[in-house]
Structure formats: structure tokens, C-alpha cells
Amino acid sequence: MAPKLPPQLPPQNRVEQAGDASGTAGHADAGYHHGPKGLLRWLLTTNHKEIGTLYLIFSLSMFFIGGIFALVVRAELFQPGLQLVQPEFFNQMTTMHGLIMVFGAVMPGFVGLANWMIPLQIGAPDMALPRLNNFSFWLLPVAFTLLLSTLLMPGGGPNFGWTFYAPLSTTYSPPSTTFFILSLHMAGISSILGAINIIATILNLRAPGMRMMDMPLFVWTWLITAFLLIAVMPVLAGVITMMLLDINFGTSFFNAAGGGDPVMFQHIFWFFGHPEVYIMILPAFGIVSAIIPTFARKRLFGYASMVYATSSIAILSFLVWAHHMFAVGLPLVAELFFMYTTMLIAVPTGVKVFNWIATLFQGSISFETPMLFALAFVVLFSIGGFSGLMLAIAPADFQYHDTYFVVAHFHYVLVPGAVFAIMAAVYYWLPKWTGHYPNERLGRWHFWTSVVGVNLTFFPMHFSGLAGMPRRIPDYALQFADFNMASSIGALLFGTSQLLFVLMIIKCVRGGEKAPAKAWDGAVDLEWTVPSPAPLHTFETPPRFQHQEH
């Protein structure tokens, strides 16, 4: 299939630009960097594109480290009995897998994309606060080196699950927990600073003429995500600070013995935790909303309703936290309230899925790799949405809660959801980053092995959960054996197929078919008006943006 046919549609947003819209590859040299060279250059860079690249490389490395931890878990669960690791280490692996994937892979992945693409999509020369940008990135390697080093400390690393429920994470935690708290603080500060930067950029540096309702949806969803980050990361900081005080200074926030309340930990944690879940999915909605119209060669259906749906999901995310706690003994009224609000989230989420499908309807569809990942996102994220709706039914949740059914649910929204969206974005924007098209053949192999792997891993988990297998156990009863073996084989397939992803990226950086400024004929946003690869400095003279009626 030829990905590059002559444009059929005129671009919807016209741009009159002085200077760097000429679209020649040689132009890239004009932005040559004159600062320090080598390692120091990357350490000190304040350029949004270089920082974006750093974030993406960091995210990919964490994705592999977290993935190796997941494979240790799956290898132990390949068959009943304890074969490879002991329960203590197993618990550290499940915990670290969760923490690394959430805070180290998915969140920095989206921040990296935001760094690269938001200035390009709104016609800004850089992020609003470039030096802060450098600082927020370099906090991350420090934080995660510290977090990983806890595995080597006496008593081991965190072993209480990524949700670190007190008092298992306070009174009964290993000595390394203080370092865990410190590293989470650093990762949190990094996210907060990143969010401030993104908000400041979007609100102040848009190209003249670009109104809020003209912004690409990736920018919109990131703006909303950044507000969520500002609202809930301080709450996470608060709750881990309370843990720190409980562990080291004798307070009793969560210690029943001193009049504290372990249930309060869960309330505060999930008050952060549920919006956090949407922090990991809203930018994905933005990415898919860019890719589907591009490859359907048709404008996104219901732009305004997409913006409103995203906002209502964000607002609702503050009102649903206790659906993670249906079995802790909430009073009846609370159960009912949280059941209703949770069910309500299905409405705006449904609107988004319907809009994507309406965009496909009567389009002119081609299936390049970014599109394949975006389409898989729509289907598999929806499956995760369906199991989410089942989990919302509080009486039934007493049976689903803390079983593999829940594991299946959130992996469906996070892996073929958030992670596939990041991969789709990488395939979609690689031509802009490197000036070369990604290898379609490799991309397809990567896509199909990932889709098969992901489903083989996570679909059987629905069954093992319903049949009664609790999550986070290192060994299980014999009736769950077949499902677990399937999951483990799928995990190995999914894990190894990510090597194709790395291979594809390396090949694309080193060469490949040259991409023009507008790499995909159906693409319309501002980033496609600068040359491919994008020179180090773009939009130093702001472009004039002329909006089209929505």
C-alpha cells in the first residue's frame, strides 16, 4: 500500500508563513545548534524538540524495564507452584511493574509527545519555560534510578502494590520505603512542572489567529490533562508525605492504633488515583483524534463535542474515586452515589467512540501503521470500557473486585489503550521527527504481533478473574492453570515483539524513504507546514493561522 498519494483534499487550515515553511529537507541545517556538544549538549538543552526526544527515549527504556518485570511475573505464573521467584520478590516485581509503567513509561511518553508536538501544533517557537522544561526532564532519571535502586536495598524494594495501601506500606513496609517516597516526590514534581509549562505554552503562545476552539484535539486533551495533573499530583504528594510522617515521625494518619484510619488512605489515594487514570488516557484520545481523520481523509466528526466530552470526563473523574473501594465497607448511600457517577462516565466516553466511527463513515480510508494502531485502540479500548461498565455495577463488583477481571480491564485501557496510542503517535510523527517514513513492513509485523500478543495476554484474564483468581498472587489453584499459561505465552509474544518497535525506530532514524513536509496527505495541522525533519528552531516568526468554521 502506498502511504503517500497526492493530496485529495485541500488543507483545512491555511497558513501563511514567512520563512521556514518552504518544505525543503536541506533547510534543517539552518537550525544547527551552536551550544555545547556531546553529552553536555543533551544535559543542558532547552530545546523542546530535544527535550521531547529525551522524554521519549526515557519512556521507551522504562517501558522495557517495566516490561521485564512483567515478564518475571508472567514467567512465575506460567504454571502453578513456585518455580522462579519467591513471594517477596514477586510482590516487588508486581509493584515495580505498576509504578514504572504508570510513572516512568506512560506519563513521560505523553509528556515527550507534548514537548515535541504542542509547540509545532500551535505555531509556537518553543515551550513557554524552556529551562524549567530541562529541569523537569532531568528529575526523572534521578527519581527512577533511586526507585530501581531500592530493589538492591536490605529488605528489598516496595512490595505493597502500586496502590501502596496503608498500613502494609507504612507500619509493615520494608526499610526502603522512605526512598520510594522520595523518588515518587521527584517524579511528581517533574509532572507538575511539566504540566505548568504545557498550560503556560498553550494559553499564551498560540499562533496569532488561533482560538481555543481551533486547537488540534491533541493540544486540547493535553491542556485538560495538565489541569488534572495540577489538581491531583499535589494530593499524591500529600498522601506520601503523610506516609513519611507515619513511618518516621510517629504520627498516626493511617495507623488505627493511634486513632488514624487506613480507609482514609484509600480515599485520598484514589482521589488522586482516578484522575491519574484519565491523565494516562486523555492525551491518547487526542492522538487518535488526529490520526483517524488523517487516514480517513475526512474532518473529525463532532470537534466541539469531543472537547466537551473530554472536559466532562475530566470533571467526572473527581467524583468517582470510591468505585475502587466498593468492598471496603462504604455506607449504602456512598455506594449508590459512586455507582451512578461511574456509570455516567460511559456517556461522554461513548460519544468519543461514536465520533471516531462517524469520522470513518464515508471516508476514504487507508491503513498505514499509525492508522492500524489507532483503529486497534478504538476497538480494544472500547472492550476495556465495556468491562469498566461491568465493574461500575456495585453489586457485581463485589465479585469482580481485586480479581484478574480488574487486571484485564485496566490493562485493556492502558496497553492497547494508552500504549498503543503512544505507538500510533510515534509512527504518525516519526516522519516529522526524522525526515524518513517508518518501514511499513516492520510496522505491520510489529502491529500484528502486538495485537495478537496483547489479546492473548489479557483476554484470558477476564476468565481467570471471573472463575475466582485474586490479583497479585504468586501461585494459584489448579483451575486457573490454562488461562495463566495462555496469558504468559501472550506476554512473551507481546514483550519480544516490542524489539521490532525499537528496530523500526533505529532504522527510521538512520534512513528510509524521505518524507516531505506534509508526510501524510490527509494531515491538516500546523506541524505539517514545517519541513521534515523539523529543524531545531521552528516558527521563530509566528505563522498567521486562519481558522476554518467548525
Partner: protein, 198 residues
Amino acid sequence: MTGVQRTVTRTLVVLLAMFVFAFALVPLYDAFCRVTGINGKVENTAQALIRDSIDESRVITVQFITRGSPGLPWKLEVLDRQVRVHPGAATEVHFAFTNHGKQAGWGRAVPSVSPSEASLYMRKVTCFCFQEQRLDAGERYEAPLVFQLTRDLPDDIKTVTLVYTLYPVDDKTLAAKVLANEAPAIVVPGIAVPGGEA
């Protein structure tokens, strides 16, 4: 760049407010629980008896359960394991603490009410659970609980279970309480020496 500065200032204000809010959640949650009865938390200070007529048409079974916990060689026993009371009537129940360890120490009995809604209608006039207790080695200390179930107790509540779990109080916790200016009332049998505004 004034626009950027303004945005950054505003986001920083929100940020700070949310951090403070996280800590404010602790007292807010506490207050919320006491008002709504979530979690079966009961007032941990003495409440006045409501002088009210007694509803003799209803009899409520009140069960008492006492539990020990690791690390404290104490025993808490209830001398009347179950009482049947009328809503509105005040009732006295006796508990006994024994320290069968070889050292003096501090402990505290933490109450929990089930069903949790019932905690809204449980008024404690006197309770050993209001403060930490100190017992010498081998000492036994009997303490009363005087409580009242108010008349507006919902009709569908027929049994109320009150569970006391005895926890050790270590020096670190005591020190933290002193720092927070809520020094524990020292209770030795017979004499109460408030260490602060108890």
C-alpha cells in the same frame, strides 16, 4: 511574557491550594465521617446525656467485643458481653484492663461500631477509649462505659456491635502527640491527670 508569568502564578496558587487541600482532607474526612456515620467512628470526647423519655417499645441488643493486638501484653475484657437496652436509656457496662506483662506501658482502646450508621445514635458519656491508658506491670484496672442510644435510632437497627481493639502506644506516637500539643491525658486508676486540654 507577562501572559506566561500570569499563567504560572495562577497555576502555582492552585498547586499550593491542592497540596494544602490534601492535608485538609484529613480533618474534613474525619468531620464528614462523624456527621454521616461512615466507618463507624464515634465521637472520641465525652458527650452529654440527652434527657429524653425512654422508648420502651423497642429493645436493642448491644454486643461488646474486645480484641488485643500484637506487641502489648495486656488484656481487655468486657464484664457484660451483651446488654439489651431501650433507646433513650443510659446504660453502664464494665470493662477490665490487665497488664500481664513485666513492664509498665501505654495502651489505647480504639472503638468501632457496626452497623456504621448506628454510630450516629451512640452517645458516650464516659469511656476509657477517650484517651491513652497507662498500666503498671501486673496491674488490673476496671473502667466503665456509660452510653446512650438516642431515640431517633432507625427502626431497622436491632443489633449494635461495639468493638474495642487495644493498641500499644509507643514513645514515638506519644512524642508526636506532645508535639501536636495534644498530650495524652494520663490515666492511672483513680486519678486522671490531664496533660493538656483532653
